[in-house]
Amino acid sequence: MLRTRNFLKKLGLPESDAHSLPTSSRRFPDGAQYRVEIPNVEGPAALEAVRSAAQEYGVTVHRISQGSGIMLLRTEEIRAMATLGYKIGCEVSLFVGPRAGWDTGAQFTARSGRNLGARQRGMDQLVYALEDIRRACSLGIRSCWWQMKGCCGWPMR
C-alpha cells in the first residue's frame, strides 16, 4: 500500500484522505474563504424572492443556481435573471440541457439510474447542449452548470 501511496504522491496527489483536517490556505481571488449559493432558483420570480429574503435575513448570496435548464427558460427570463443578478451582484448559474430525460432511454427512471438523468446522450444531444450554452452566453450568462454523473433531484416533482 505504501508503494501505491508513493506513486500517487509522485503524481501530485495526496497519499490519503486528510484525516488531520488541515486548514486550507487556498482562497478565492479576493481572499475570501467562502461564498453562499442558493440552489433551485428557477426563474426571475424566484430570484427576486431570494433577493428580498436575503435583504430580510441579512444574508449575502453570492451565487444562485437553476436546475431546470437553459432551454426551459424563455429569452426574457434569462435576460431578466442576468440583469437582476448583475444589479444585486449575484452570479447566475444555469444548468445545461437537454439531458438524458429528454431522450428515449429509460435507465434514468430506474431506482439505480436516477443519477444518470443529467447526462448528455449521443452526439446530437451534445451539440444541443453546446448550443444551449451559446444561447445563455448570448443573453449575458457566464456561468453554466452541468453534471458529470449526478442528479440534483432532476426528475420532475
Binding site: 484525516h19 486550507s24 467562502y34 424566484a46 428580498s52 448559474s93 443529467a118 433531484g153
Partner: protein, 530 residues
Amino acid sequence: MLVADEGLLWVAYEMRRAGELPSDLVFKLSVQIGTANPAAALVMERLGGGTLNPPTDLSLAQLAAIRQATTMPLDVYVEAPDDFGGFVRHYEIAELVRVAAPIYLKFGLRNAPDVYPSGTHLEPTVIALSRERVRRASIGLALLREYYPEATTSELRANGLAVQWYQKRRSTMAIELRSYVGGNWHTGTRLVDDINPADPSEAVAHVSMGNSSVAVAAVEAASAAFADWRRTPAPARGDILRKAADLLEQRADAVGRDLTREEGKTLVEGIGETKRAAAILRYYASLTLAADGQTYPSLSAKTFLFARREPIGVVTAITPWNFPIAIPAWKIAPALAYGNTVVWKPAELVPLTALAKGWKLGNPLEEGTKVGPVVSRDQMQTVLDYIQIGSQEGGRVLAGGERARDLGDGYYVQSTIIADLSHESRVAREEIFGPVTTILPASSYEEAVALANDTPFGLTASLFTKDLTKALRFANDIRVGVVKINQESAGLEFQVPFGGAKESSSGSREQGEAAKEFFTQWKTVYMDQV
C-alpha cells in the same frame, strides 16, 4: 464511469479556448458520483472545470484531500435535499470552511427536494422554497460566525467572473440601438449584440434588428415625407446638412471611438473617418446653392426652354461595414441635398483596414496601433481560411499567417504576406477583407499591368514610381475607376467622382458632382408666352 458528460466539458473547454465561447465562461461541475476523490477532481480541473460540486455526503477528511489536489472552489451542500441523501452539515460549516476553502456553501432544503423542471404552475412553490432556503442560510451562517468568527467571505460584486463580465458589459454599453422610422424608434423581433472585435466579451451595444415590417414602414415614411422635402428649398436643405455636420464634428471623438470599438479600425482612423463624414455633409450642403439646371435656346421665339435636375424619390442606401460612417455620408448627404428622402440600412458589422509587415497589431484604441482586429469572428475565420488556401495553392507565407493569440480573445490576425502564388490563385484574385497581401513578381512594366488588369474587378490601383512617364502610362493603361500614384489605394477625397471599372461598379459614379447624375433626373420645361 467517464462518458458523455466529460465529453461535453472537454468540448466546451476547447470551444472556449478557440474563442467559440466567451473566455470568461465559468464551468461548474456537479459530479455526484464521478468526482469523489482527489485524482478525479484533478482530471476535472484539467478539463476546464471552474467549480467542483462533489458528492454531498463525503466526510470532511475526504473533502480535505480533494482540496489538496485541486485549486477549484468546491461547491458543497451544507443542507441537501432528500434526493441527495439529505445530508445536513449545519454544525460542520465552520470546519468545512476551514479545511475546504475556497468553498461555496450551498443551502438546499433537507425536507423539500429541488423542484425542476419548474414552470409557472409551480412558481409559487419555487418562490416559497427559495425564501426558505435563504432563511436556512441565515441560520447556518449564524452558526459559522459563532464557531469560526474569523472566516472571511466575499463582498458582493467581487464574487466572480459572471458579475465582472456583466459590469464591464453594462459600463461600456452606450446605447441600445433600434430602427428610427418617421420620428419614432421601432423595435425589431431579434436582439443581437454589437461586439467589440478587439474584446469579444464587450458588447458595444444591443441592436434590435429591423425586420421586413420595419423596412416597409421605413419606405412608407420616406414616401410620405418626400413631397414636403422635395418642396423644401435646396438651400434650406443645405442648412440642415450643415447643422448635421456641425453636430457630427462636435461629437467626432465619441463617434470615432464607438466606430473603433465596434469595427476594430484604429482610433485615429475612426475619428478621422467621422470628421471626413462631417466634411462630406458640408460639401453637399454647399452644392445646394449651385445651379440646378440650364437654359437652352428654343427654335421658337416665344418659348423659354430650360431643363433642371429633380430628385428621384425615395433612395435606399445599403451600406457596407468597411467605412461605416463615411460611405453612408457620401450616399445619404447628396441624396438629401438633391431633395430625395432616404431609407438607410447600415451594415450589421463594421470593418478592418490596412496591413503591412511590421505595423503594430493591437488594441485599436491604443495610440501607435496600425492594425486592429478584423471585424468579427466569422470574418477572422474567413481570413484564416484564405491564408490556408494560399498555402494549399503553393504560397509561401513570408510573415504572419496565424491568429494573433497573444492579444487575448480579440479577433486579431497577424499581418500576413504571401509569396510564390500564381496570379490566378484565389488569394490573389479575391477580396479578403483582412490583413493579407500577396506578392506577384513581374519582369516588366507591361507584365505588371497585365497581371493587375487580369481580374474581373477594377476599383482602385496604385503605383509607386519617380518616373513621370510611367505614372502617366499607368494612369492610362490600368483598368480601374481610381488611380493613385505614390499613394496607397485606399483613401478618397469627396469632391471628385468615385466608382470602379468592370465588376467593381454598376457603371455609375458617386461623390463629387457625379452624385448629381446619380440622385437626380432631368426635367425639361417648355414655356410659351401667351
